[in-house]
Amino acid sequence: MAFLIRRFGFYLAAFVAAATINFFLPRLMPGDPIQIMFSSAGAELSPENLDALKLTFGFVDGPLWHQYLTYLQSIFTGDLGRSIKYFPLSVTSVLGNALIWTVGLMGTATLVSFTLGTFLGVLAAWRRGSVFDIVVSVGAIFATSVPAVVTSLIVLFFFGFTLGWFPTGYAADPSLDPSFSLTYIGSLIYHGILPMLTLCTVLTGGFAVTMRNNMINLLGEDYIVMGRAKGLSDSRVMLWYAARNALLPTVSSLAIAIGTVLGGSLVTEVVFNYPGLGNILYQAILARDYPVIQGQLLIMTIAMLVANFIVDVSYVLLDPRLRGTS
């Protein structure tokens, strides 16, 4: 328990540090950020809105520490201000809309890749040196070492443009209204296949290699030999003796992968013009929409911190050795 409390303290400190970086970034920029934002927004901002904007960044009159506290207060009350690009909308609602798409796309892709990768890794380690192992290992090396930009573009080129099997952008047919009808859901799936394929190609290899290497390290342990010597069936030794224990370090990479879900698919979303968080961040950067950039960075940091904390908790729950020493 003391271990968890210490970790929680660390994450709180990390959060404040990230928020502080967030606070200082626009201040380190050359020029007055508020003026830059004001000019890029054109005539859409009224003077009252300008004041509101200043408030969300802590650009209130007064010394720096006072500005900083105002900023921290607006974070902890969940007020992230208003977007400049999509003006009357608040940052929370802009990010909220995008969040649904990203979680749907990346969440599914992460879970599919994790399941598939772990399964392939277990089998490859079990038949180490076989043709299957070589295919999986080499395939994983290829898939993980090719940049996501390249994978996205190649998938888009072949399946989207050359073969013309799938749409080349948007999350659903823009002429349809969002609803729970079969046509709309069908359109969602149809538009989601290419980004999903890309993300699974990028992610599966990593999980497979981690699992394979964990498994191989464990297969040399005495209790595996013991299990075999007892005459247990291959599948029982493989799944219940080796895979179960090899899964532990993989759980942490899964949690980290889930933590990066909110920012991890940026490139794919941009290439496939998918309306998720990554694309919103990209558009915000191009439009110098600082409230959205800051809000997005905060959300991603929080997701990473929560994921890391879940790793810590799961380690304590799954690995009895940690309980005694803490």
């Binding site: 660390f10 994450y11 400190a13 990390a14 540090a17 990230a18 970086i21 970034l25 380190l28 920029m29 180490r128 040196g129 192992d133 070589i134 290992s137 090396i141 290829f142 993980t144 070492s145 090719v146 940049p147 996501a148 930009v149 390249v150 573009l153 190649i154 888009l156 080129f157 989207g160 443009f161 080349t168 290497n213 191989i216 390290n217 297969l219 040399g220 990066t260 920012g263 991890g264 940026l266 490139v267 941009v270 961040l281 990209y282 950067i285 191009l286 110098r288 950039i293 997005q296 960075l297 991603m300 940091t301 990473m304 911190l305 890391n308």
Partner: protein
């Protein structure tokens, strides 16, 4: 340890293929001015010509020679990759060894910063930094990468340092009164060479991919000749929808090839450092183990 690594690398098929790929790319990059007469930055032909005898890989939207841009761009990708990789590894290794060996307050401070950097999402932060700087040149990108990406290496190096700092040879060096910097440089560092190697190659891959990604997203300097800028320009010229596949698939293929070459090398170093991961002919593996003194019967 270093000797085992090198004999291992020459005997490992993955490493050999990886080294051949990387060597080929380096040679082509260095010989770029000899291999093509075209200036990579200027207009030398009609726009979007498919590959021909004059232009081996066709031309871009504004009539630049794709082959010339490819081999000149390789110089940029390699320079950023190895430069940033070196910076990342140097910082990570130094911090990791100091934290692991010194322990106490030093360790606490370094570990706190390491963990802090690890939990802040990297790519989005880089994007924001690059956009604030505006039209970041390859040098600027390499420096930003170097100073923001050392944390993983520091954590791994620290853990490895902890596992060897109580070994006898360190104790005896301490007894003989060797200064601490000497112990860290000449006793600990050579024993971590495989982890440093993995860290270095991994960092090079990361730097090359990230540079290309940042430039593809339009955050680079438009005057740069690099693979990332080639992707950006091709995408901006809608190369895919007008069917100019040579414009966009060329940098794609080059990035994939370099990534694969480096990864093969990385996996090979991992296998040499961790003999259990090796596959292949069992007898060969066994004799290799006996020779390197790792195989205890």
């Amino acid at each position: 340890m270093i000797k085992v690594l090198f004999t291992g690398l020459t005997r490992n098929r993955k490493a050999l293929i990886g080294i051949i790929i990387i060597a080929l790319i380096i040679i082509v990059a260095l010989a770029a001015p000899l291999l093509t007469e075209y200036n990579p930055a200027s207009r030398v032909g009609r726009p979007h010509q498919p590959p021909s005898a004059d232009h081996w890989l066709g031309t871009t939207r504004i009539g630049q020679d794709v082959f010339s841009r490819l081999i000149h761009g390789a110089q940029t990708s390699l320079a950023v990759g190895f430069g940033a990789g070196l910076l990342i590894t140097a910082l990570g290794t130094a911090l990791g060894i100091i934290a692991g060996y010194r322990g106490g307050k030093t360790d606490e401070v370094i570990s706190f910063f390491t963990n802090m950097v690890l939990v802040v999402p990297n790519l989005p932060l880089l994007l924001v930094l690059a956009s604030f700087i505006g039209q970041a040149s390859p040098l600027v990108i390499a420096v930003i990468l170097g100073f923001t990406s050392w944390a993983w290496g520091a954590r791994v190096t620290r853990a490895e340092t902890l596992s060897i700092k109580h070994k006898d040879f360190i104790k005896s060096a301490e007894m003989m009164g060797e200064p601490r910097w000497r112990i860290m440089m000449f006793e600990i560092f050579p024993n971590l060479i495989s982890i440093v190697g993995i860290n270095f190659i991994g960092s090079v891959i990361f730097a090359i991919i990230t540079e290309a990604t940042l430039e593809f997203l339009g955050l680079g300097d438009p005057k740069t000749v690099s693979w990332g800028m080639m992707l950006y320009n091709a995408q901006k010229a809608s190369a895919l929808s007008v069917g100019a596949w040579w414009d966009i698939l060329t940098p794609c293929f080059a990035l994939a090839l370099l990534g694969i070459g480096l990864s093969l090398l990385n996996f090979a170093v991992d296998e040499i450092a961790n003999p259990r991961l090796r596959t292949g002919n069992r007898l060969n593996r066994w004799t290799a183990l006996i020779r390197s003194g790792d195989g205890r019967l």
